[in-house]
Symmetry: C3
């Protein structure tokens, strides 16, 4: 079975300058480890909140590393340095509005400030790119809410078959 | 009473090549027949998943046939050949995000992969264009969820007055 | 404590021509008076449904008056003269899709035609701009649904600290 490559990109000025430890990238890795039972490997990157840097690493992980999925964390709020959605939109061929809608709806059950999140998802060639929140506690709830649709999306893009631990998350594939 | 013209556009490479029969266009026609009690006629088209072809037929049905409403089916997923939302966005003056949000929210009650749908709706001059899903079973649930707003939208665009069978669907017009 | 400046912009051809009295601008002012307990002042404007006029007044209130928040009313529907979202999008650096989604979801509880609303919100430099509906009765329900996130958004933009009357609306600030 083909090993799936999944990119994990932490976007944070302060983590990049080592002012604090990146907890969000590892939180994504740990969640995927729980979700997936098919073989996969992660490729992790840490970049500052610079649009061109984010675009460069998304393109590298998509075009050269051939990741079927890239998950970003950080940089999706309303502050001036938050540019992850801009970078994602710029490198994608198609935007999938349903991901952002669904993640905001999920976060709204917990905090009313969920509407400030500008998270998007899109497709660049054979890669699905999804923006997750910056906070480790919110990462899991967002990923849990959209992951059921991700394996089928990757099937449609002719990527590797992702199998999940059904006790944790159900990968839905229409008959 | 002025007869309303409604365009029904099936977007599908395989139906266009006659590899299978188009069931979606007829499903839209049948649903509208149940919904509408005012006089109307449909103008049906079948095109392949080519953006320029879809744009051409949307423009023809809007500018020359003067349809007040065009319903498309197919080509709204994440696959590379899915370009119906791109064609719709290209020919429209205004996009109505609420339609896509509402249709995805409705489909989400049935399947978690609803977030993969990129359905949009928009207005070109006097024509409302709405992307419906490709599957006949999903067409009715999406149309049922947004149709209550369609007659009033067409009123605002100074189109023909659509009257519905109130037992099936209620056309809401604010006082 | 720094006095917050809040712009209130009524967009309406008929109110501008004095064919009827603007009730929507005053409705926003009255609602804010109930919501806010920290010092604030409003700067009110009335413009016709002309995109360049709307853009001009949004830029004036943002760049010169340094409003931390601008609330518009009117011009968000599907009619040809409705161009408030276009003007807002044009002058903003970032769009916050969650506001429009949330306001439409709130209005949908009352009327199915809520999906016709094209309300957006966005940020221009240090100013949050939010499109509210035109009808005074809908203004309060929309503002009530998104206001809990607004003070924290303005904090993130380094604007004045807004304090609310907690009995009326809760300003949520993550710890």
């Amino acid at each position: 079975m083909k090993k799936a490559k999944i990119g994990i990109v932490t976007v944070s000025d302060r983590a990049f300058r080592a002012e604090y430890k990146d907890l969000s990238g590892p939180a994504i890795h740990a969640t995927l480890n729980e979700f997936l039972v098919s073989p996969w490997e992660s490729i992790q990157r840490l970049v500052p909140d610079e649009q061109t840097e984010i675009e460069r690493v998304l393109i590298e992980l998509s075009d050269h590393e051939k990741c079927c999925l890239i998950l970003t964390t950080g940089g999706t709020g309303p502050a001036i340095r938050d540019v992850t959605p801009e970078a994602t939109t710029k490198v994608c061929d198609k935007i999938l509005d349903g991901f952002g809608e669904q993640m905001r709806a999920t976060s709204l059950c917990h905090v009313p400030t969920a509407i400030l999140s500008r998270q998007v998802a899109g497709i660049r060639a054979g890669t699905l790119i999804v923006n997750l929140p910056g906070k480790p506690s919110s990462i899991r709830e967002c990923l849990q809410s959209v992951f059921p649709a991700i394996p089928y999306c990757i099937d449609l893009m002719e990527g590797p078959r992702l199998e999940t631990d059904e006790r944790v998350v159900h990968a839905f594939r229409p008959k």
